[in-house]
Structure formats: C-alpha cells, structure tokens
C-alpha cells in the first residue's frame, strides 16, 4: 500500500537542503495547519450535503437537486450564505463570553481532528498517549456550550446549556470506559501502534464479545457527546427553539454548526481507528490472494469508507427515533450504560489474561 510518509519525508528533506532549521519547522507547521483547516472545512461541506440527501431519502423525498447536478453545490451555497449573514449584536449579554463561546467549541474539535490517522503516514500528531489525549480534548467543548448558554441572557438558552452540560459530562464517562476496554486489549494508547497491531485482524474481531459490546456502547455514548440523534434535547428545535445557540447568528452559528458535524466525524473516526482498524484493509489470515486485492485499495479510501459507513448509521438512527427526555437520558447513562461498561471491562481483562482473544 502506498505509504504517505515517503512524500512527507521527501518534502522535509527538500526543505532542509535549502533553509535553516527554524524556517523548515515554521513552514512545515504552517503548511500542515493550512492543510488540516482546509480538510476540516471540505469534510464539513461534504457531510452537510450527505446528511441532507440521506435524510431526504429516508423521508421519501428528493433533497437538494437544483443547485448543481444532484444538488452538489448546495453546501457551497449554504457556506456563502453563512459567511455573509449579519452577526446581530445583542444587548445585555456578557459580551466577551458571548463572542468567545463558539471558539471554545471549534478549537476543541479541531484539536481532536489533528490527531487522527487518515492513512498510512498521514497522521499529524502521534503521541504515545493518543487515546487519552483525544478524550481529554473533546471534553473542552462542554465549556463552550455552557458559556454560550449562560452569556446569551435568554431563559431558553440557559435551560438548554444546563441540560447539555449534564448530558455531556455523564456520557464522557461511558465513552472513556469503552475506549479503555480496547486499551486493555491492545496494551498501548498510541494510535499508530494500535492501527499497526490490527493488520491481521481488527480489534472488533480480536476481542469478540467484549469488543462488540464496547463498540455499541461507544457509538451510543459518542452520539450523546455530539448532541445528535435521539439525544438532541439541548437543541431540540420543537421545544426550545434551538437551545443554547438561539441567540447566535451568521458566522458564530456557523461555528457551532461546523463543530457539530465535525464532532460526528471525529467520533466515527475514533471508533474506526480503535475498533475497526483505522486505515488497515480487511485481511483474513490464510487468504493471501484476497489480502493482495484488499491491499490495492489505498489506505485513505479504507479510512474514509469506514468512517462514512459509521456516519450513515448515525444518520439512520437520528432520523428514525424520537428524543429522549433529560431524565431518561441520564437514566440511560447511569443505570444502564455505566454498569454494563464496568462489567464489560472486567470481562475484557479476563479474556486478555486467559489468552482467549483471537
């Protein structure tokens, strides 16, 4: 499979022959940052189109089909609209916090975005505490939501923000514990090592029962983390008219909107990397011909393919089910997901000790 680190090391050496150390690093940082930002925005546009079309097909209608063939430029039109909309300044709000809140949410999701392995050799930040870093950075988003609700000076927003805060803090526990289950199986937290270890068999199959349960719990908890699907009470349109981001307009709302879609992408990517093998193709031990065919497909395609399948599930769930009420949501977490998670962790430890994994 094509290894992108060939390209990156070539660029690095090319720069080093001409420029001193400081400038090489500076140029590399800027280039990587710009590439990631561009990728962030482009993925958001593709996701918005994807969601609108799939949601329309579920609802027996066609979705956007006028702007461009099959409506592909609809997201671009939406982006332009968001950029040129007026940002309405509100009286009696806490101005500094009001303007700062969207940035918290955006920065948190961007920090997590940077640590994902997109393909062989395409990982911007590869720390040895990879999983732990991802979990801690995605919890910074809670701050942004609480600030947004509080500083809006609007009863609806505050109710939405309080609900959201309670929800996010509870579900982070479940998400973290289910990822810890896989860390027990893999023995390392570094993302690139985890992906390398799945070259023969994905962790989902290696840890069989325990990994499947952890996968399902992680998907549910991840959904709740992103305020999507049946857990979107904080921004319930038909109840609280948009909850914590009621008072935001124009580009500030665009930030919240972008961050929500990218959070969905990030949760799906973390699930792919940890459970489904990241950019590793699907190998079956013993069938070399099959494996060679699988190797032809580039790693980037594998990664994005798996992520899009998980996101299709996410959309499917969102557009089928009604919302849970706040006490039922917290009930689900503390009485069902957390106990099952803890039992599952114990089960995984037993499986690893007795060598019953594949």
């Amino acid at each position: 499979m094509f290894d992108f680190s060939i390209v990156t090391t070539w660029i690095d050496e090319f720069l080093r022959t001409y420029l001193p150390e400081f400038w090489v690093l500076a140029i590399e940082f800027v280039v990587v940052g710009v590439v990631l930002l561009a990728l962030y925005c482009v993925i958001a546009l593709i996701l918005i189109y994807f969601e609108r079309k799939i949601c329309a097909f579920f609802q027996c209608r066609l979705g956007p089909n006028r702007v461009g063939p099959y409506g592909v430029f609809q997201s671009v039109a939406d982006m332009l609209k968001m950029l040129i909309k007026e940002i309405i300044p509100i009286n009696h709000t806490d101005k500094i916090l009001f303007y700062l809140a969207p940035f918290f949410v955006l920065v948190a999701s961007f920090l997590a975005f940077g640590a994902l392995p997109f393909g062989r050799g395409l990982q911007a930040i590869d720390m040895n505490i990879g999983v732990f870093y991802l979990l801690s950075v995605s919890s910074l988003g809670v701050l942004g939501i609480l600030l947004a609700g509080w500083s809006s000076n609007n009863k609806y927003s505050m109710i939405g923000a309080m609900r959201s805060g309670a929800q996010l803090i509870s579900y982070e526990l479940s998400a973290g514990l289910s990822l810890m289950t896989i860390v027990v199986l893999s023995g390392t937290m570094q993302l690139s090592t985890m992906v390398e270890n799945q070259s023969n068999c994905w962790y989902l199959f290696q840890g069989h029962i325990s990994a499947v349960i952890a996968f399902i719990i992680y998907l549910i908890a991840g959904h709740a983390e992103t305020n999507r699907g049946p857990f979107d009470l904080p921004e319930a349109e038909s109840e609280l008219t948009a909850g914590y981001h009621t008072e935001y307009s124009g580009l500030q709302f665009g930030f919240f909107y972008l961050a929500e879609y990218l959070n969905m992408f990030i949760i799906a990517s973390i699930a792919t990397t940890v459970f489904l093998g990241g950019w590793m193709p699907f190998h079956v031990t013993g069938m070399d011909g099959f494996n060679a065919v699988m190797d032809y497909i580039p790693s980037v395609i594998w990664f994005f393919g798996k992520v899009f399948v998980l996101m299709f599930f996410s959309l499917w769930v969102r557009w089928t089910f009604p919302r849970l009420r706040i006490d039922q949501l917290l009930n689900l977490e503390w009485k069902y997901l957390l106990p099952i998670n803890m039992v599952n962790l114990l089960l995984m430890v037993l499986l690893v000790i007795y060598g019953l994994t594949l």
Partner: protein, 542 residues
C-alpha cells in the same frame, strides 16, 4: 323528564319550565346556584357534563344559557337559562366550582358581553385585551374605529386579575396576583414550533418542573360569531370551514344539520351517505395530521413526513370532488354542492387497503419504540372526573374512560346504517390518547368501506327557498368532530339572519384542562401532552 321537573320545582318553585327542542328551565340569577348544585349533585339528576355556556344579549336583558348533559347517557339533556336586566353592571353567580369548564367560558362571556360572574376565581377577558372599550356581542356595541383604534404600541402583559367576591355586605372587587415575585416564568409561544398554532402559555417553572400554566388565547380571534349576525345562513357556512380546518366537513355538516332541522328541510339519502363518507375521510386526515405532529414534537421528523404523504392521497380525493383541499366547501343547506366525481368511489376503494398497510408501518416504526413508549406511558394523566368536569370529549375524553362518541349514542346522517366500535380506554395517559387516534383511523376506514359501495341513487341536494328563514326559537345541534363534540346554537327571531349564533368548540375544553394535567410535569412533557391533546387554535379563538 318528569322527575327532573319535580326536582327543579322542589328546589326553585318559581322556575319557568318549557318543553322546546329540549327541556328548558328559566330561573332568576339568585336561584341559579341552588338549581345548578341540585342538577349536578342530586342522585336522580347527575348532570355533570356542561356542554355549552352561551352568553346572549336579549335586548332588554343580558343572559346566559347553559346546556347540560350527563356523562352516563349523553341523550339526557336539560337547558338552563338565566338573565339579568341590569345592563350597567350585570352580575350572575359563577358555576365554575361546579363544572370546571365554566372557567374559560365565563371569561369569554365577560369579555364579549360584560356580565361579571360573582366568585369566579380569575375574571379577566379571554380573547380581547383589557384595553378594549365596549362589549362586542352586545347589540348596542359601537364598532367604529374611533372607539378602538389600531394600537401598535407594545406593552407588558398583565400580571394581576380581579375577583368579585360575595360577602355579607355585598359584592366587592378583589385584586389577585397571577404570579408570585420569585416565580420563573417562561413564555412558550405564541410563535413556537410546537404549540400547533398561535397560543401563548405563561409557564411557571421550578427547574424543569411546571407549577402553573396560564393560557393566553385570542391571537387569531376573527369575530366569527359577531359577523354571522349580519349574514344569511348560506353565507355563514363558509366560516365553519375556517374554524377547525382539519375537520372542515364535519363543522359545516353541523351547521347545515341545525338549519335543516329548524327549517324542516329533508335531506335526500344520497346526500346523507356522501356527507358521512366525507366526514369519515376528514376524520382520517385530521387524525393523521395529529399523529404526524405529535411524532414531530417528540423528535421523530421522519414520521411526520410519512403521515403527510398519506394525507396527500385523501386531499387528492377531496380536491377532485369538492374543489378544495383544506377548505372543502362542500355541504350546503339541503345536501351537498355537487355530485361526487365519477372517480371518487374507485379512489376511495384504492385508498383503504393502502392506509391499512401504512397503519401497520406506523405501529412498527413508532408505537413499539422503547423511547416513544417511555415518553408517553404515565405522562399527563387525565382522570375521568376531571375529563367530565372540563367537558373534554373526543379521543382524549375516551382515553380517560368517558364514553362520549355521539356517532354511536345519538346517530345522525348515515351512522345508524353502519357497524363500528367505539374506542374507549381507561388509562388516561398520552399513550392511550395516541392509540385512540390510530384505532379511530382504522374504525373510520371500516365505516367508509361499508358505505362506499352502496351509495343510493337520487338527488344530491334538496330544493330550498332562495332565502332561508328559520322560525322563531332556539336550536341546538351536536356532532362528533375529530377533536370532540362540536356544537351549534342558533337563536332566531324569524329573520333570515340569526339573532345569536354560537359555536361550541371542542379545543377550548382541551386547552382549559392543560393546567390541571401538566402540574408536576417537565417541559418536555408539556410538549408531549400538548401534542397528544391536539387542539387547533382557530377553533378556540373563533
């Protein structure tokens, strides 16, 4: 009826008893409460269901007409009338502690006629603002713009109200506070995606728990009752389509039946069958929309689109025969406006199996869903006594055990020719109301398939005079609309226009019971309960 007469004469010896369309008892205001308590609490009587409360301006006096019925047998009815000749400061004792539904109805009478009800807990205008000068339904009302100019200034809503309390030394006015100082009041509506129209709730919250709801309606009040006093009967018909627009056929049917019975016009059998089939199709569309909106309020947007897609098929059938989708404009006095289109029977017969298949899909998608069940079971409990006291009928009343289907109890049109079940459940929570509606769609399909093949030949409309004049008297008519019992009251003095016309709205009863049902529920439950009650605001505000 004899024992009722004896009971009345025993309690109030100088009551005037007449046998008109129903047994009518006229008393003086001082004796009203004695008679009301006797009729309500006495064993032989047991009139616990106040169907209509109408205020009338008789010219020399201002009065109120009460139409009472019993919950065990809706065919037993009695009409109580009272009037006071004091036009400057009319006072009549309240009955809102005896029948809960009198609360909002007496506020409406106060707003329109100026009659103050003694001991009413909250005597405010219901539909008009407190700055309105004059009482619109009085015959000497000055409707010019000088008296009530268009006011575009914004002002705060009132937080106080008055109460007229009777004591030893006469009747005193007492100010009451609606909200305490440290109450957290949240405004839900009037522009809100989930209130099904322009309705304003001022909710007092404690965290997430609701403590009190103050309903503020009147945003879409168009003055239909006052307008009707200057129009002839065929001209009033087009207003009824715009009251509860989801069961437009049924409302128009009620007014046509009232006029036909009063004027003695015989409706041909073909027209009765067509009217019944159209009524049931309207009921199907109304319940479909109610299901779709309830699912949407709870978050399942896909279910909303499915309900609408199926409703389109019925609206196509309506469009082909009647010429309109929402405002069908089909019934006239004497029959229907035009014969059914040749494709009508074929399309209806294609629709019935299609809808049955989709009903199964709805149950699979939504009813069995664990999230939906958790949000609906046990939420918003409405007991039988509260339902009867607040005159809640229709699928909501039947979900609390109140058997009130007028199609079965007092059949009209072609309902005596068909067999169908009356769906009654006793749990009284949101799931019971939801299941009632879906089961009623099934029963409506059953009724339609029994009728559609055997529509008799004949005229589709009886010949009527060009100008219809009703003989002098009072006429009531009750009909089962999709939301409950819809009623028409016409007081005619022999002209071609009615002297007083009143529409009894089923949604007003539903909205008046929201405060009682939502005590102690959460905000998310308020939305679910509102969706399961399914009130339509133009029906409340008329």
């Amino acid at each position: 009826m004899e024992n009722i007469k004896q009971l009345v004469l025993a309690k109030v010896p100088d009551a005037l008893i007449e046998e008109k369309q129903y047994l009518t008892v006229t008393v003086k205001p001082e004796d009203l409460r004695t008679l009301a308590k006797a009729l309500r609490y006495d064993e032989a009587a047991g009139f616990d269901y106040l169907v209509q409360l109408t205020g009338v301006d008789y010219g020399d006096s201002l009065g109120v007409v009460y139409f009472l019925s019993t919950s065990k047998d809706l065919n037993r009815t009695v009409v109580v009338k009272t009037a006071t000749a004091d036009r400057e400061n009319p006072m009549i004792p309240t009955v809102s502690d005896i029948w809960g539904t009198a609360n909002l109805n007496e506020r409406e009478v106060f707003g329109f006629l100026g009659i103050r009800f003694i001991d009413h807990p909250d005597m405010r205008h219901l539909f008009l603002t407190e700055r309105w000068k004059g009482y619109p339904l009085r015959k000497d009302y000055d409707a010019s713009e000088v008296q009530n100019p268009l006011d575009l200034t914004s002002y705060d809503m009132p937080e106080t109200s008055v109460k007229w309390v009777s004591g030893e030394d006469g009747i005193k006015e007492e100010k009451i506070q609606l909200f305490k100082d440290d109450d957290y009041v949240l405004n839900i509506g009037p522009q809100h995606p989930a209130t099904h129209g322009v309705l304003h709730f001022r909710t007092v919250l404690d965290g997430e728990i609701i403590q009190k709801i103050d309903v503020n309606c009147g945003y879409i009040h168009r003055g239909i009752e006052k307008l009707s006093e200057n129009l002839t009967y065929p001209q009033i018909l087009h207003f009824t389509d715009r009251l509860d627009y989801l069961s437009a056929h049924i409302n128009r049917h009620a007014l046509c039946m009232c006029v036909e019975k009063a004027a003695g016009i015989e409706v041909p059998r073909r027209a009765e069958y067509i009217r019944t089939i159209m009524d049931e199709l309207s009921r199907v569309t109304s319940h479909l929309l109610s299901w779709a909106c309830m699912c949407m309020d709870m978050g399942a947007l896909t279910a909303f689109i499915y309900g609408m897609r199926d409703r389109e098929k019925v609206l196509d059938i309506f469009e082909e025969t009647c010429g309109g989708r929402l405002i069908q404009n089909y019934n006239v006095v004497g029959g229907v406006m035009a014969d059914i289109h040749p494709n009508f029977v074929k399309k209806v017969k294609e629709f019935i199996p299609y809808m049955r298949k989709n009903l199964k899909e709805y149950h699979q998608l939504y009813t069995g869903n664990v999230i939906a069940r958790q949000r609906m079971i046990g939420v918003g409990h409405l007991s039988f006594e509260t339902a009867v006291s607040y005159a809640v009928s229709g699928p909501v009343g039947r979900a609390s055990g109140f058997s009130c289907d007028l199609r079965k109890i007092a059949p009209y049109a072609a309902y005596d020719q068909v067999e169908f079940k009356e769906i009654v459940r006793t749990e009284g929570d949101c799931l019971a109301r939801y299941m009632n509606r879906l089961d009623e769609i099934e029963e409506s399909l059953h009724i339609i398939e029994q009728l559609v093949d055997s529509i008799p030949e004949g005229d589709f409309c009886a010949k009527t005079k060009a100008i219809i004049k009703l003989p002098e008297g009072e006429y009531f008519q009750r009909i089962e609309a999709a939301r409950g019992e819809f009623g028409v009251y016409i007081l005619s003095k022999g002209d071609k226009t009615p002297y007083r016309l009143k529409f009894r709205s089923p949604s007003m009863a539903l909205v008046s019971v929201m405060d009682t049902v939502c005590q102690g529920a959460k905000i998310a439950d308020l939305i679910t309960i509102g969706g399961s009650m399914d009130y339509v605001i133009p029906d409340i505000d008329r």
